[in-house]
Amino acid sequence: MNPGERKKKLGLIVNPLAGIGGRVGLKGSDGIETVKKAFAMGAEIISPQRAMETLQDIYPFKDEFDLFTYPKGMGEDEAKACGFSPIVLGEIVPDQTSAEDTKSAARKMVDLEIDLILFVGGDGTARDIYEAIGDKATVLGIPSGVKIHSSVYAVNPHRASELIKMFLKGSAPVREMEVMDIDEDLFRKGQVSARLYGYLQVPHEKGLIQSAKSASLGAGNNRTIAEAVVDGMNDDYYILGPGTTVKAIGDELKIEKTLLGVDVIYRKQLIGKDLNEQQLLGLIEGKNAKIVVTIIGGQGYIFGRGNQQISPRVIRKVGKQNLIVIATKNKLLSLKGPLLVDTGDSECDNYLSGYIRVITGYNEESVWKIEC
């Protein structure tokens, strides 16, 4: 730490109930009924363990930050067990914590200008954090829940520790990552339907090393990608999917594109906002149309996660040749595998499979394989 620099503040919020459903075969643990059922089936609490794995890793650096947390099982117990003397905020009723506690913890930490809020949980926890504070703070998830669709989580608790260390050193830049969740009732019946809820500010490891030999990538950003799309526009109808990458097209055209919805533009004017499948089909009936979508960070989905409005019927009507996929190179390179589609219609998924050009900057495209 340089002289004059203030000590960093780290926050810790543990959702003590996260992940308990999974061990007993229930998918997810949202809702008091599920939690009760899980306990009845002998579920064990795993999130404290996950929190402690990270805490142990960062213990040697404890003098570089102050640790703020919530009482008892929401962080205090874990922190103390690892040798920290945390500053404990708020009050809770032990063993009866709920989403409200997570939210108020997050809000309090924003008020205290915490530099990095760590939270341990699953997609539900990420949603709670998002609802409480949006983009008002930098956060990082330590995964504990069984199902994680959100990109706001580190791969595992140890990777989280690495990121925290880099963040403390000032060498982990922050970017927007997706908060996703699926409808748990449907999921327990075997149906997957994930929604995009919003974005959180998350630090990330620079995937691209700055070695002496390799100059900076100078990769395209959302803005140059948007310019490329806009310059290529003709008189077709453009169905714009959700996400910040696509929203930048709206910014480029100076129109109010919804962040999470599917909008349609025609001749660079917005003609429909936050549309559903029927409305989309109605608008493009008998017209030439194009679809512009981006990928879900970390996962690679281009259809079937967060943009179900663009249904197999819409996709077929528009045609694969009119599909425009856009993403920054960083986003593509942080994927573990190919691009994915899961439209709920395997024929449509097959139809979409194969190589596709992804626009990654102005005059710059990258070829990726779509699999299903």
């Binding site: 690495e162 000032g170 060498s171 090393i209 030999k213 190589y355 005059n363 495209e365």
Partner: protein, 529 residues
């Protein structure tokens, strides 16, 4: 005078510095030369010329045009001759290179040993005193050397004409992109504006065509074979395709098995194929770009041909083209009429001049000397040794805990892409950290990867034919020790290097051009901020 590091403070990580690595660099704490300056210190004064000469020549300072004369004396540091000698000798002792340690880390750079004999030839006074503006009939010998080298490179590459004008590999690819553009324009094919390349080619294969105005489409290697595959190329090739730019072999040491098929496909759409053979070391005399359908290609003389890449002198690219593209080459072209060598500037379709004069002559001379001393058989053997050395290295490296290789089932030529993903996962130590530690063993830091980094935690060494078995073993041994440290006490690595001239430095400010002061004057004016 600014205080340098105080020698009395104890090194923070002394216990790690005490670990024996078989190497300790010199550490001089040498100040910047301006800080050593003392008013009035000087060298011996050069005596005045004899009267007679003075009278004949007159005041030579008067002969210097007014507008280029400085008004105030230059702000040079004032030191005595021995002080200057000592200063620069010390700095030289703090450098690291092939002459001082194991230097097989820098894959894709071919940092192989360059015989001193070739350096000597390039340094001959008869070369140094030539002036590029002399009439061509007065340096026919040099032109003959250049013409011979041109002929040999044509032979090695299967191309019809060569130019030595580009100043490096990137410049060569840019020049080739300009030739490609000129060719399509001349044929009225203005719609051909897309260039295809791939993520395991050197990034200049994407960057240079982009600078030349093309849209660039980047393919990815198949995760099983390491090739890009005909199916992927078929999915993107079209009437808009201007050409294909690929490195061969790839940066991963994989030689794409379908290059010939790609060339046919690209040609069937009216496109051209440009191969980047900057690193030709593993395939010398064994494959010719021209034979597998390349229309343009380049060598880096400062890699394969006896000049190390980087720091040891200027670069020099040599571009080769098929005869259909000869007229687009940059001027001048070397020609021989049976008795005299000429520099031909009369090229109506040339893309123009891409650099002053005729290229980087000392590299041309070293390449000439090297090929002469090796002969065809020697080149063939050298490429064999480059590949054998690399495959020995692969075998040994894979015995190191936490080290894996990308495309394990694929044969590699002169280099390979290892990775430390498992080590990173298990210990938090990845390639960047190991790279700082390896310098403690008297081993050149290794090249990680070009961008885009598609294999995380990459390590790309290149043995070349010049490495001895002892050097290779030492490299692997160091990796074994570092791996042990990663799994037992990663702090040793995180705080490395401990045996080098300087300990860890924060490089972050260097990446910020606004904060970097590259001259003493800028530092005096604005200080370090």
């Amino acid at each position: 005078m600014t205080k340098t590091n105080s020698k009395t403070t104890k090194y923070q990580y002394q216990e790690y510095a005490d670990i024996d690595t078989g190497y300790q660099a010199l550490r001089w704490h040498e100040p910047v030369i301006y800080e050593l300056s003392r008013k009035g210190s000087r060298n011996e004064i050069i005596p005045n010329a004899e009267k007679e000469i003075q009278v004949k020549v007159g005041d030579i300072t008067k002969k210097i045009p007014k507008k280029i004369c400085r008004k105030t004396p230059a702000a040079l540091p004032e030191l005595s001759e021995p002080e200057v000698m000592r200063h620069y000798l010390r700095l030289s002792q703090e450098t690291f290179g092939y002459d001082s340690g194991v230097n097989i880390g820098l894959g894709t750079c071919t940092m192989k040993y360059s015989p001193k004999l070739n350096d000597q030839l390039a340094k001959l006074p008869s070369i140094a005193y030539l002036h590029p503006l002399q009439p061509e009939e007065t340096f026919q010998g040099l032109l003959e050397i250049m013409y011979d080298l041109r002929t040999w490179l044509c032979e090695l590459s299967g191309m019809d004409e060569f130019s030595f004008l580009p100043r490096g590999g990137g410049h060569s690819v840019y020049t080739n992109a300009c030739i490609m553009r000129a060719y399509h324009r001349a044929n009225g094919n203005l719609h051909k504006n897309e260039v295809i390349t791939c993520a395991v080619s050197h990034p200049c294969n994407a960057g240079c065509p982009s600078t030349a105005g093309f849209k660039v489409i980047e393919l990815h290697p198949n995760k099983n074979t390491g090739d890009i595959g005909l199916d992927q190329l078929e999915a993107v090739v079209s009437d808009r395709t201007a050409g294909l730019f690929l490195t061969a072999p790839y940066d991963t040491g994989v030689f794409d098995s379908q290059l010939g098929e790609y060339a046919k496909l690209i040609h069937s759409y009216g496109g051209l194929v440009a191969l980047d053979q900057a690193n030709f070391n593993g395939v010398m005399t064994r494959m010719r770009a021209g034979d597998i359908g390349a229309d343009l290609m380049h060598f880096n003389l400062h890699k394969t041909f006896s000049t190390p890449h980087g720091s040891a002198g200027p670069g020099a690219g040599a571009i080769g083209v098929k005869k259909e593209l000869r007229e687009y080459l940059p001027a001048p072209l070397l020609e021989f009429d049976g008795s005299q060598y000429h520099l031909n500037y009369n090229l109506p379709k040339t893309i123009g001049k891409t650099g002053v004069f005729y290229g980087v002559i000392i590299n041309v001379l070293k390449a000439y000397a090297w090929i002469m001393s090796m002969g065809e058989q020697g080149l063939r053997e050298a490429s064999e040794w480059a590949v054998i050395n690399n495959n020995y290295l692969i075998k040994k490296m894979l015995e190191v805990r936490g080290v894996d290789i990308a495309w394990p089932n694929r044969r590699k030529l002169q280099e390979a892409r290892f990775h430390l993903q498992k080590m990173k996962e298990e210990t938090g130590i990845g390639s960047a950290e190991v790279n700082l530690r390896i310098a403690d063993f008297g081993i050149q830091t290794f090249f990680e990867s070009h961008e885009p980094v598609i294999i995380p935690e990459p390590v790309t060494p290149e043995a070349s034919e010049a490495a001895s078995k002892e050097d290779l073993d030492r490299f692997v041994e160091a990796f074994h020790q570092i791996s042990k440290e990663a799994y037992s006490n990663p702090e040793i690595i995180r705080t490395a290097p401990h045996h080098c001239t300087i300990h860890q430095t924060n490089l972050e400010p260097l990446l910020d051009s606004k904060r970097t002061k590259v001259t003493w004057r800028a530092y005096q004016k604005r200080g370090l901020s």
